[in-house]
């Protein structure tokens, strides 16, 4: 993995952290799980999750701000829909993070091998 990939992901961190912060709430994740199955009006989400309506509205606002949900009017209702492509930066971050961790463990492994070859032993 190249260092520029690693840095590119970290540099996008502020954008990713908005989505991450949005997802880092158990109730918001529950709302996303409901919306995975299809569009819903606020009232339907309230019923399905037994959260209060103000709570659901507040969470939908946060999710909308980071683009994870969108909404449209249908008559007098407002229907909310999941925008899963917004999760892509999070997924990219995870993939690059995994490679960074794996590479770091490989470097630690090589270093441990070198140390033991030099005969430093344990409890240095």
């Amino acid at each position: 993995m190249s260092i520029s990939e690693y840095v590119g992901v970290m540099a996008r961190a502020s954008t990713t952290s908005d989505v991450f912060n949005a997802v880092a709430d158990v109730h918001r994740r529950q709302i996303l799980d409901v919306l995975i199955t299809g569009e819903r009006a606020v009232g339907a989400i309230v019923d399905e999750l037994s959260l209060s309506q103000p709570q659901v509205s507040k969470h939908l606002r946060v999710l909308s701000e980071v683009g994870l949900v969108s909404n449209r009017a249908e008559g007098r209702r407002r229907l909310y829909r999941l925008q899963p492509e917004q999760l892509a930066p999070l997924h990219d971050w995870v993939t690059t993070y995994e490679r960074a961790i794996s590479d770091r463990m490989d470097r630690m492994d090589d270093y441990l091998t070198d140390l033991q070859r030099q005969g430093d032993g344990s409890d240095a």
């Binding site: 840095v7 880092a24 709430d25 158990v26 630690m108 492994d109 270093y111 091998t113 032993g121």
Partner: protein, 165 residues
Amino acid sequence: MTRDRHGSAVIEYPSALEILTTREFDAPIGLVFDVLTKPEHVRHWFAPFEDTMTVCSIDLRVGGKYHMVFVTSDGTECSFRGTYLEIEAPTRIVDTWLFEGWPGADAVETVELQESGGVTKVTMNLAFRDQAGRDHMTRTDGQEDSWDKMEDYLGSLVDASRPIG
């Protein structure tokens, strides 16, 4: 003859907010613990390129802090810092974890070591704090950001089973 373990790190997601890394090393547990915790060792493996690590400060005691910084080839600084919550050499370290380029995502890191037949297995669990939990801590914290209160709160997160959905 030791096997080549390159690429053998296993990364799993026990919950939406946790990253669990498992990796085995052909080395005794005491040495692995030292390599994980002593700056003179950490400098050699933490950064993608060892000669770009500019800060490697580790105060290995409960309440002590660590700070790691490396600089990439195009000059970007990557800074990690935290505080040690638990230390049981050579089997366990618990600390807070923050990558400073990502201020919202502080976490608790739990590292455990276990040796069997000259092979040490290391597990590292990074548990990001739930937004609701963070809001709760802010409300009950009162005036300033007290390390004692954070330590208690994060300690309880580590000990109790977390109701992550």
